[in-house]
Amino acid sequence: MNAQAEEAELERLARLYVYGRFLEEARPPTVEETAQALQATGAAVTLAFERLARKRVLVLEEGGREIRMAMPFSAVETPFEVRAIERRWYANCAWDALGIPAMLNCDARIVTRCADCGTSLTLAVMDGEVVGGGEVVHFGVPAARWWDDIVFT
């Protein structure tokens, strides 16, 4: 396997490992944990994470090397809590909150707050359908500008 193919394979394995750990533990693995699991060096994993970030697969902590987002998962607490399959995660936004049950093909409860009045809202996904009470989702940033500042978006 040449160097480019090895890099691509490490990226693929790192992505799968990150998502697997997020699923199980509701947090991303560290660079060191990933390196140990994949029997790679920390430097190689750091570079893999950076390549994945450039490809917009992951979002890294600003100025750092650890993971802030593996969409739809957030590594930090947000106003979008998703409860499914006896676990709880934080999503980055309303779209990502729906994205977790969409990705897992499972039922879920989404606990958030109305951005207008602050009232607690609970939405449900059941049998492949979303159940709400007339709520809407506002996308504030045009699609072409989403990645100008993805944390803000």
Binding site: L123, V125, V137, F139, P142, A143
Partner: protein
């Protein structure tokens, strides 16, 4: 929605019903855990938006002046 945006000094973007947002989430994320998943090209994303009826300028991935 207009009042909410005005109160915060932000422009009104796109407003989707919860059902449409769910359709978008399913299209976007249903295959994310596949071992062979790959990022979509810009054209594929634009086509996906179009299938969902998201065809206004807001959903265009081309930078505008």
């Amino acid at each position: 929605m207009d009042r909410w945006c005005a109160d915060r000094g932000v422009g009104r973007g796109a407003v989707l019903s919860l059902e449409r947002a769910w359709e978008l989430a399913v299209e976007w994320y249903h295959d994310r855990l596949r071992a062979d998943w790959r990022c979509r090209e810009k054209g594929e994303v634009q086509a996906m938006f179009a299938r969902l009826g998201l065809t206004s300028r807001f959903w265009s991935l081309e930078e505008s002046e």
